[in-house]
């Protein structure tokens, strides 16, 4: 099967007052339709930069990106806007990614309206359906985005991204503020959606447990370069690169007493 996404030699350098920061130094990456690829790396290694470059939100300095067989970096104007229905992104900080004056309803209705997937009359129904899908009450639609909890916001962000039924979603730390029960529901939702629509995920996460649970393949980025790539189980069981070894070694474990004893009832 041909690749859904193919990234070749992507570079990006930022300038910040007197320094220059090479955030991406020639990144290669491929993603097949319906696949989940975990992108892990320590903080500041370039994960978000890569995810945003793929979502055409920052212009890379060099390299090429092909998406669904087309040259993504050459797309402009109307063509680019139409493509966005197929390639969505969930931002790392959900609150920052919402217009501070928006309601939950508007956030989720926007992609449906822009891509004409629902008319004014069907909109409330369509928004409710998406909210239920991510495990939220439809009544939440009337709230302002700052009037809901952190985990609820993260789910609203996911609802916005799946609204247009894209073929690729870049998920930038989509689960980082969710407790395990909700996280389980979201992972199941992402799974269902994948089975149903064949969407592929680029899952950016620092949580190796999550990567382990959902991604068949994992790629490790360090200092803007891919340092390791392979089946998740293999990489996590026997990391080769120093970066991957460090990440694996630092995973927090449950601190139980060795001999569980029940006190009281």
């Amino acid at each position: 099967m041909s690749d859904l996404l193919e990234v070749r030699g992507l570079t990006k350098t930022y300038r910040r007052s007197r320094e220059t920061i090479a955030a991406l130094r020639g990144v290669d990456l491929t993603l097949a339709p319906g696949e989940t690829l975990a992108l892990v790396g320590n903080s500041g290694s370039g994960k978000t930069t890569l995810g945003r470059a793929i979502a055409r939100l920052i212009e890379p300095d060099g390299g090429a990106i092909r998406f669904e067989g087309r040259d993504l970096l050459a797309m402009r104007g109307r063509e680019l806007r139409a493509m966005r229905a197929r390639l969505q992104i969930v931002f790392q900080e959900p609150l920052e990614a919402f217009n501070p004056r928006a309601t939950v309803f508007r956030v989720i209705a926007d992609p449906l309206r822009v891509h004409r997937l629902a008319g004014r009359a069907e909109m409330p129904e369509a928004v409710s359906r998406l909210l239920v899908r991510v495990g939220l009450e439809p009544a939440l639609a009337a709230r302002a985005v700052h009037e809901i909890s952190g985990g609820q916001r993260q789910r609203v962000a996911i609802a916005r991204a799946i609204a247009t039924r894209p073929s690729l979603i870049v998920l930038d730390e989509p689960l980082s503020a969710l407790d395990v029960s909700v996280r389980g529901r979201i992972l199941a939702l992402l799974d269902d959606l994948q089975a149903e629509t064949g969407v592929a995920y680029l899952l950016i996460t620092h949580d190796l447990g999550v990567a382990n649970a959902v991604a068949g393949r994992i790629t490790v980025i360090d200092g803007g370069s891919i340092v390791e790539e392979g089946p998740t189980k293999v990489v996590l069981a026997d990391p080769q690169s120093a970066a991957a070894r460090r990440l694996v070694a630092a995973v927090p474990r449950l601190h139980r007493r060795t001999e569980p004893a029940r006190i009281g009832g």
Binding site: S17, G44, E93, V182, L208, G209
Partner: protein, 257 residues
């Protein structure tokens, strides 16, 4: 190991008003917190964890109704956010000012709450950014928030929260965007501050494994109530509520396949 009583909460309840409805976010919360003590709050999304932190800091939005009492026997007066209480908000980006460099923002906290001059505040800002393990802090002080990665912003927020040498640190998902390596270092830093500066900690998190390695006690919230509280090891090894047991079972470790 823990010090004198810092904070005493009795029967705390919070209701929000939104779109004419009233949302019960917390009810009947009792909690005592001592100096040097570290408590984690875990619980499902929307259970009122952030609300509890905001209520303690006196930062609830206008129009919310608070019942019950929050007393500060360890302070003798109402606490000042920033000075007596350091807070890391759940979305660090939105608590940073987009038009000031991060150095200016951290230094400003030192200046207003520790009465330092501008030069010393700035030097301390660099030192604090180093302590939260930001790479090349001399460069990062001059960066604007949007020029940093998510995890770097979160560490700036932590530096700002501890800059005023508070008595209580409320950390709301403060390490959620930080990789495990730095996370472990931040946890070490917090532990050090608690014992050296007699800091008390309220650590709000969804990561029960991370909590169990850091705190003395764990409180579990569910649907606006505190359903369980006890010594960390006990809650983890012998949870008394079925919800806590489910949380522990659902923990995604590397060993679980």
């Amino acid at each position: 190991m823990s010090g004198p009583l810092l904070l005493s909460v009795r029967g705390l309840g919070v209701r929000y008003r939104a779109e004419g409805q009233s949302v019960e976010a917390l009810t009947g919360i009792d909690l005592d917190l001592h100096a040097r003590e570290r408590i984690a709050i875990i619980g499902e999304s929307g259970s009122g964890k952030s609300t509890f932190g905001l209520a303690l800091a006196g930062l609830l939005p206008r129009g919310s109704e608070v019942s019950g009492s929050i007393a500060w026997p360890g302070l003798g007066a109402a606490p000042k956010p920033g000075k007596d209480i350091g807070i890391v908000f759940q979305d660090p980006g939105s608590s940073l000012n987009p038009v000031l460099t991060v150095g200016e923002q951290v230094a400003e906290v030192c200046r207003t709450h520790l009465g330092m001059g501008w030069r010393r505040s700035y030097a301390r800002a660099v030192e604090l950014l180093d302590r939260v393990r930001l790479p090349s802090p001399e460069g990062i002080v001059r960066a604007y928030p949007h020029q940093l990665s998510g995890g770097q912003r979160q560490r700036v927020a932590i530096a700002m929260a501890i800059a005023g040498r508070p008595r209580l640190l409320i950390a709301d998902e403060a390490t959620s965007a930080i990789d495990t390596v730095v996370q472990a270092e931040i946890v070490g830093l917090i532990r050090e501050l608690c014992s050296a500066d007699a800091l008390a900690l309220l650590f709000i998190t969804h990561d029960i494994a991370l909590a169990s390695g850091l705190v003395d006690r764990i409180a579990v919230f569910r649907a606006a109530r505190m359903v369980e509280i006890g010594p960390a090891e006990e809650v983890v090894s012998a949870p008394s509520s079925p919800y806590t047991a489910a949380l522990i079972d659902a923990h995604l470790g590397l060993d679980a396949a």
